[in-house]
């Protein structure tokens, strides 16, 4: 019931939006639709919080034994909440951006929302793959149509990267299909016992898709360009939600399905993650473009999650899930700020900005909280997640190098403090220049959006128990499966 | 006569045809080489037909539709199809000739660029 609604609302509204000519109407409808989704999601977590409402299971492709099987377990709930929460904020915070053919812009946005929600809820591999692509294609069009100058080349690169990845995943899923005796059900996959060789093949095929999506070093080369060239609203989706698809895929479709291979390859990927984190952090320090800075910082943060996954422990796994949510919120806040700045000053160069704190105090305060969350200060949400992950990595029984990984992770945190604070300092403090001299404070809608985020950040930072309890069960399940071998 | 002789002859004709198609540049000659290939096939079909008939006769079976006669029917079909092909092929070659006053296939490079 809830899953179907969650998918159908954005899907149908999205399609319908193509028929609406006025941009303003389209925008309102889109906002309304996303709010309805959010309401449904919240209802699913409170009123309808029972198995009958949270799962949906109907036959789909008989020849393949594939089913329409959606389920909202703890992890899905968390991510769906993130998605449904993020979309209205994105639309609301970018309310003043105007687009050519706005109706199509919002239509595609909603289609991608449907895709994302489907990915998070699908319990059938074929369905998962379907939504995986459904989320991608609208984003391709969004980036290519409304992006920056080099958008066409950049987005085709992005598209081909992810498409190749997903095709590899498809092969992996097909292999799983045959190994499980003709089933696409996740529930069957986590019961499989495969030979080491088979697990390895499937692992490699699947991990490519997820690695591209997150992105994991060295599959990340599409990401900074794409983030930079996309319209900011789309970048928000890409980084706040889309990147989580990869991590989610690892957690849902990789680690529990091929645990032995995950264990076996764990150190290699953990090393890649560490390299990527450090590399991304250093690159971020050197960035002058706000968008690129945030993009690289995103790679660094995601790297930490990957690290926690490949050096698994209970605390780590749960930390990833929470951090997925937190990072989504935090990065969304960052992007909103970037968008505001770009809209107002027409530039994203840190070197060309400065002294905003005097002119826009509200923005500065809210921004500061978001930035602190980004560097995982205690009492912010990120602190909870990252602390759990460090804890997990440090004490992981799956790897011998837990301590080293944890240390490397801490270095990244420090580095992230360096670049985030440098950015804050250069943009908000110091002397004003001719660009920023006439700066005004942010509009009400952005204030509200950021405020909501900040409230969320602080709330979770102080009282994380609800989302912790949400993910307990599924974390345990994954861990059990991984410790089987 | 042993079947091998027929096979050698047919294969020789066939090979001449193939080589002709691959090496000659005149469309008409290529076309004739193709016809040569078809006729090599016809020859072999008839030879096989007799061979299988003899085989089944030796095994004491009465001639039936499957004992070689179908090969001779096949020859008829090949003839018909060859006639149809001749018709269309010559028409095409004539059309070509009327347009470029040559039947040399080396002229067929307009589409290359």
């Amino acid at each position: 019931m809830v899953p179907v609604l969650l998918i159908l609302i954005p899907l149908l509204t999205g399609v319908a939006l193509f028929a609406i000519r006025q941009e303003a109407t389209a925008k309102s409808i889109a906002l309304f639709s996303t709010l309805v989704s959010l309401a449904v999601m919240l209802a699913g977590m409170s009123v309808w919080n029972d198995a009958a409402h949270l799962s949906f299971n109907q036959p789909w492709i008989g020849a393949l034994n594939s089913r329409f099987h959606f389920e909202l377990d703890g992890m899905s709930q968390l991510l769906c909440l993130l998605t449904t929460f993020a979309f209205p904020l994105i639309i609301y915070s970018t309310w003043n951006n105007s687009y050519v053919d706005g109706n199509r812009f919002f239509g595609l946005m909603l289609l991608s929302q449907a895709g994302l929600l489907g990915v998070f809820m699908a319990m059938d591999a074929m369905l998962f793959y379907f939504f995986w692509e459904l989320a991608l294609i609208p984003l391709y069009f969004l980036c290519s149509r409304w992006g920056g100058e080099k958008r066409v080349q950049v987005t085709i690169k992005f598209f081909i990267y992810t498409f190749v990845g997903s095709l590899f995943m498809l092969i992996g899923l097909i292999l799983l299909y045959f190994k499980s005796g003709g089933s696409f059900a996740w529930a069957d996959y986590v019961k499989l016992t495969l030979s080491a060789r088979e697990e390895m093949t499937i692992f490699i095929l699947l991990v490519v898709a997820f690695a591209v999506k997150m992105p994991l070093f060295p599959f990340h080369t599409w990401q900074p360009d794409t983030y930079e060239q996309s319209p900011t609203a789309v970048t928000m989706i890409l980084s706040a939600i889309m990147a989580k698809m990869g991590v989610f895929g690892l957690l849902r479709w990789l680690a529990p399905v091929v645990p032995a291979a995950t264990y076996q390859w764990g150190d290699n990927f953990a090393t890649l993650a560490v390299v990527g984190m450090l590399y991304a952090s250093f690159v971020a320090i050197k960035q002058d473009d706000l968008k690129r800075l945030v993009a690289w910082s995103s790679i660094a943060h995601i790297g930490l999650m990957i690290l926690a996954l490949f050096a698994p422990s209970y605390s780590g796994i749960q930390g990833i899930m929470i951090q997925m949510f937190n990072h989504g919120i935090n990065i969304l806040g960052m992007w909103i700020v970037v968008n505001v700045i770009e809209q107002q000053f027409g530039t994203r160069k840190i070197s060309e900005l400065g002294g905003l704190a005097q002119k826009a105090p509200v923005l500065t305060i809210l921004m500061l909280i978001v930035a602190l969350a980004n560097i995982a200060m205690p009492l912010t949400n990120a602190f909870i997640g990252e602390f759990m992950m460090f804890n997990g990595i440090w004490g992981s029984t799956a790897t011998k190098f837990g301590m080293i990984y944890a240390l490397a992770g801490i270095i990244t945190i420090i580095l992230s403090a360096v670049y985030t604070l440098r950015m804050v300092q250069n943009v908000f403090y110091g002397p004003t220049n001719e660009r920023t001299a006439n700066a005004t404070d942010i509009r009400l809608n952005v204030q509200i959006a950021l405020a909501i985020l900040v409230v969320g950040i602080v709330l979770i930072g102080i009282y994380p128990k609800p989302i912790l309890s949400m993910t307990t069960e599924i974390s345990q399940q994954i861990l059990d499966r991984m410790n089987l071998k | 006569m042993p079947i091998n002789l027929y096979i050698f002859l047919a294969l020789a004709l066939f090979s001449i045809g193939v080589i002709g198609v691959l090496t000659r540049r005149n469309a008409i000659i290529i076309f004739m080489c193709i016809e040569l290939m078809l006729n090599a096939v016809n020859l072999l079909l008839v030879a096989f037909s007799k061979m299988h008939l003899a085989d089944s006769m030796a095994a004491g079976a009465a001639p039936t539709l499957t004992n070689g006669i179908d090969a001779q029917l096949f020859v008829f079909f090949i003839m018909v199809v060859a006639a149809a092909e001749v018709t269309v092929g010559l028409a095409i070659i004539v059309m070509m000739y009327r347009n470029i006053h040559s039947v040399d296939v080396n002229f067929l490079n307009r589409l290359k660029n």
């Binding site: - | 001639p63 006669i69 008829f76 149809a84 004539v94 000739y97």
Partner: protein, 132 residues
């Protein structure tokens, strides 16, 4: 009787029956070659350039004779190829038609129907219209 006409006839139709034809071919070849050779030797040979020109009613020949001719001739040749093949199909039928009886006749009637369809079509398409 002989649905398998082509095969039962094998017995009375061996290679030896064709030998005389080969001999006759040799005869004819020999005759033609001898005669042509003979006249070549016997006849006088006083060649002049005028004599070796093509004869076009006394007017000087202009251009090459081998130019594209009316497409009609070509069309006739093509139609001949098609219809001749169709006619060929009647031969095995004609030889066996008593054995094939009425069912065979109906089949051939159908074939004739196709034949006539094609025939009517080419006539209507003007393939045989010479006066234009």
């Amino acid at each position: 009787m002989n649905l398998f006409f082509l095969q039962t006839a094998v017995a009375s139709n061996t290679t030896i029956n064709y030998l005389p034809i080969a001999i006759q071919l040799l005869f004819a070849l020999g005759f033609v070659a001898l005669t042509l050779g003979g006249t070549h030797l016997l006849g006088p040979s006083r060649k002049t350039s005028d004599k070796l020109e093509n004869f076009e009613s006394g007017i000087e020949a202009v251009g090459n004779a081998r130019q594209p001719v009316a497409i009609k001739y070509f069309l006739v040749a093509i139609l001949f190829v098609l219809f001749d093949v169709e006619v060929i199909f009647f031969y095995p039928y004609a030889v066996n038609f008593k054995e094939l009886g009425w069912s065979g006749f109906l089949a051939v009637l159908m074939f004739v129907g196709f034949f006539l369809c094609g025939f009517y079509y080419i006539i209507k398409k003007g393939a045989l219209r010479w006066e234009d």
